[in-house]
């Protein structure tokens, strides 16, 4: 148990100081590429021997970013921009910016004119992701990204390099799935914050090293004796569920995370990249099967069906929707997806979170009331 604690603490330390990971990579002579959510082809940067560095915002107050974005843009983008404007991300050699929500579409220009020093790599992928032409468009656009990465890296990137990088990422995804399952079996050993940190650390570390750490951790978790858990189990959904205050509130209320449909967590690792002759085609084809994310075209709201299935499979007591404030894709999804959850008779709690939030009293009361209701 102590070893598990120790390992989780190490991964929590990575998340507490991502900048250290960045400096370590730079010291090793690696270039680093910032990667904004969602679904950017970071494997290509990895294939070039560069280190992808996830940019999911930070718990901080913003000031300078308000000269670019109005207040009603999500804190994820505000805080990443703020870090850029403050020069905290100057060590990056580029930043991948997708266009899959309206707030992201404005990010590239704000970054370019505000930060300037770190070049923007535009990433487009097809929303009509089940049309062959959509897959082909994504493939072609990812090839374009590859070209830009080659320029930054200063050397070409072969298909063999890409295939190897995809394999590293698929192994990482498998390790993350195994870890998530083990964490669900051992809520007594893996708190919500520890679970989140173990997953999130991968965005800042070398993926291969992250895989090793997770595999060892999972083996140790699996070796623990079966423990009884008299707390509650929920499935989370949303963009991010990494707010330390919220995760602490869950822990305080004996709520474990049985599974998730969080963009930063399982949505990243639930589906592997298929192996194809043209490895970039496989990366594009992956979009044909991913579900559960509000920035993906989802005409039947399969997200709701998947969420209900996840909750049932995990024998969860309820679903916790961690709503990122000012995130319109999530806010649109909320009504129809909630309806599906309600129809399945699964209790749902929605908590609005913002990385600049300091007062969590309302969230605490809501979680307490939800937990009480579930226990009744």
């Amino acid at each position: 148990m102590n070893e598990v604690k120790q390992m989780l603490a190490e991964l929590e330390a990575v998340c507490a100081d991502p900048k250290k990971q960045l400096s370590d990579a730079l010291t090793q002579g690696k270039k680093c590429i910032g990667v904004l959510p969602y679904f950017c082809p970071e494997e290509l940067a990895y294939a070039a021997g560069m280190q992808p560095f996830g940019l999911w915002g930070a718990e901080m107050q913003v000031n300078d970013s308000k000269r670019y974005y109005p207040a009603f843009i999500c804190s994820l983008l505000h805080t990443v921009l703020e870090m850029g404007l403050k020069g905290m991300l100057n060590d990056l050699s580029g930043i991948m910016v997708p266009i899959c929500c309206d707030s992201l579409k404005g990010f590239g220009a704000n970054w370019q004119y505000g930060v300037g020093t770190v070049p923007v790599i535009d990433v487009a992928w097809a929303q009509n992701r089940r049309l062959d032409a959509g897959t082909e468009f994504t493939r072609a656009q990812f090839r374009k990204v590859l070209g830009q990465l080659e320029e930054i890296a200063g050397h070409s990137i072969s298909d063999a390099d890409i295939t190897a990088a995809i394999s590293v990422y698929n192994k990482n995804r498998a390790a993350l799935r195994d870890f998530s399952a083990a964490a669900a079996r051992h809520p007594e050993a893996v708190s919500p914050s520890a679970r989140c940190a173990a997953i999130k650390a991968g965005y800042f570390m070398d993926r291969a090293k992250h895989t090793e750490a997770l595999q060892t951790l999972t083996t140790k978790l699996n070796a623990l004796p079966e423990a009884s858990w008299d707390g509650l189990r929920v499935v989370t959904t949303g963009i991010l569920a990494d707010s330390p205050a919220l995760l602490q509130i869950l822990e305080d209320n004996h709520i474990a995370i049985a599974d998730d449909q969080i963009a930063q967590e399982s949505v990243f690792f639930r589906v592997d990249t298929p192996v194809t002759d043209d490895p970039v085609l496989g990366m594009a084809k992956r979009f044909e099967t991913i579900e559960g994310c509000s920035v993906l075209f989802d005409p039947g709201k399969q997200r709701g069906n998947e969420l209900v299935e996840l909750a049932k499979a995990a024998h969860a007591d309820g679903i916790l929707w961690v709503m990122t404030k000012f995130c319109d894709p999530e806010e649109y999804d909320y009504v129809p997806v909630k309806r599906k959850i309600d129809a399945a008779g699964i209790p749902l709690l929605t908590v609005e979170v913002d990385q600049q939030m300091v007062n969590y009293e309302q969230a605490r009361s809501a979680v307490e009331a939800f937990a009480e209701m579930l226990r009744a």
């Binding site: 109005p70 590239g108 097809a126 319109d328």
Partner: protein, 406 residues
């Protein structure tokens, strides 16, 4: 009386045409034909050529806002669980979908949905919800935001494939066949309308401008949705002729002296249209530049260019092209200042607005203001803030005029 003066003014012709387009959809529905709800910048060439009636929820949102129903409908949608953060057009539409009634304006309910995200991705989420709610097919033409000044070949090929797929699906849904000769014809009529529209708005460069620039907000609805019809082409030609005649006479439909000329950036605040207009007009300020002028022209000469043209709409172009469009328009139309609408509804439009305003000011050298508002939710607009900022702008424009006169 000459034949010219007996004619209805183009403004009325355009309004009647808009009413006719709406009525045609009702009549078609009555006859049992399939009717669609359609995103405003969906390639209208497809539906016009196939003779498929469609209506535009965004236009309904604007009209409901203008007629005073915006807040009520938005609040109803919020009661359904929709955040007040979301585009007010969509909130009005969700409310209407649920209530099946709206006292300000009603549109026939759809049998299918035509979505296009060149203006925003919120459109996708909005239409996904409608498709589920109404249990009807949703056809999406995904037009990815441009990352360069021109639309690349990958995008053209992707849009083209979706165009073909959409036609195939529409044929299945409606039982109507696409006639490709007719499509060519609609394309050339659309070009005729676009040219006439460009000529009409081009007269804004005259001093004084022959019309009150707020008219653009009303006329662009037809420019956007009806331009594939001969009636629209003729109406825009008439409009351009009327403006030309006014320019020759040095006349204008703008009430009062045109002391200052401005660019107005963004969607109109429909719920506060009168106030936003009066505040400017009473100070002698006329709108002589708007992105709705040049940006709604959709110029092309073949199908591939048509695909690309749908990427060159406001909100879909890269920042540099968006900026150039405004700066060129402002310079050509000799503006003295600019008013930027920070629209609470529209995240993409607002996401670069501060930078747009800064660079616009630097490149044109004219003073600018930004005000907070919303196209159809009056709760986001403050009369006091708007008035104070317009006053500040007027003061600077006045000072500059005095300086220039010295």
């Amino acid at each position: 009386m000459t034949e010219m003066t007996e004619k209805k003014p183009a403004k009325i012709v355009l309004r009647d045409l808009q009413d006719k387009i709406a009525q045609d959809a009702w009549d078609a529905k009555q006859r049992g034909e399939k009717v669609g709800w359609c995103a405003s910048n969906f390639p209208q060439e497809i539906t016009t050529a196939m003779g498929i009636p469609v209506v535009y929820p965004e236009n309904m949102g604007a009209a409901v806002g203008a007629k005073g129903g915006g807040q009520r409908m938005c609040e109803y949608a919020e009661g359904m669980g929709y955040s007040n953060d979301l585009c007010s057009y969509s909130r009005i539409n969700f409310a209407y979908t649920d209530l099946k009634h709206c006292e300000e304006l009603e549109i026939p309910f759809p049998d299918f949905l035509l979505c296009c995200n060149n203006i925003c991705n919120c459109m996708i989420k909005w239409y996904e919800n409608l498709a589920l709610e109404l249990d009807i097919p949703l056809l999406l033409i995904d037009i990815p935001h441009l990352d360069a000044k021109t639309c690349d070949e990958d995008r053209v090929a992707y849009i083209r494939a979706q165009f073909d797929d959409c036609i195939r699906q529409l044929e299945e849904i409606t039982g109507k066949k696409m006639d490709y000769d007719r499509l060519q014809e609609v394309m050339s009529i659309s070009q005729r309308s676009s040219q006439a529209w460009l000529r009409a708005v081009g007269y804004m460069s005259a001093e004084p401008s022959p019309f009150s620039g707020f008219d653009i907000f009303n006329n662009m609805a037809v420019a956007c949705v009806g331009r594939g019809t001969v009636e629209a082409a003729e109406a825009f030609e008439q409009l351009a002729d009327e403006y030309e005649a006014l320019v020759k006479e040095g006349q204008s439909t703008f009430k009062g002296e045109e002391k200052y000329r401005i660019l107005f950036e963004g969607i109109a605040c429909w719920s506060n249209l009168k106030f936003t207009y009066k505040t400017l007009q009473s100070r002698g300020i006329n709108l002589t530049a708007s992105v709705y002028g040049p940006a709604f022209s959709f110029l092309y000469s073949n199908l591939d260019e048509l695909m690309a043209a749908y990427s060159y709409v406001p909100n879909s172009m890269c920042f540099e092209s968006e900026l150039k469009l405004r700066v060129d328009d402002a310079i050509r139309n000799k503006v003295d200042g600019a008013v930027f609408h920070m629209n609470r509804s529209c995240k993409h439009w607002s996401g670069n607005l501060y930078e747009m305003e800064r660079q616009f000011r630097e490149q044109t050298g004219v003073p600018t203001i930004v005000f907070d508002g919303d196209q159809s939710d009056p709760r986001c607009f403050s009369e006091a803030q708007y008035e104070t900022r317009v006053d500040a702008l007027t003061e600077i424009m006045e000072e500059r005029k005095k300086e220039a006169a010295k």
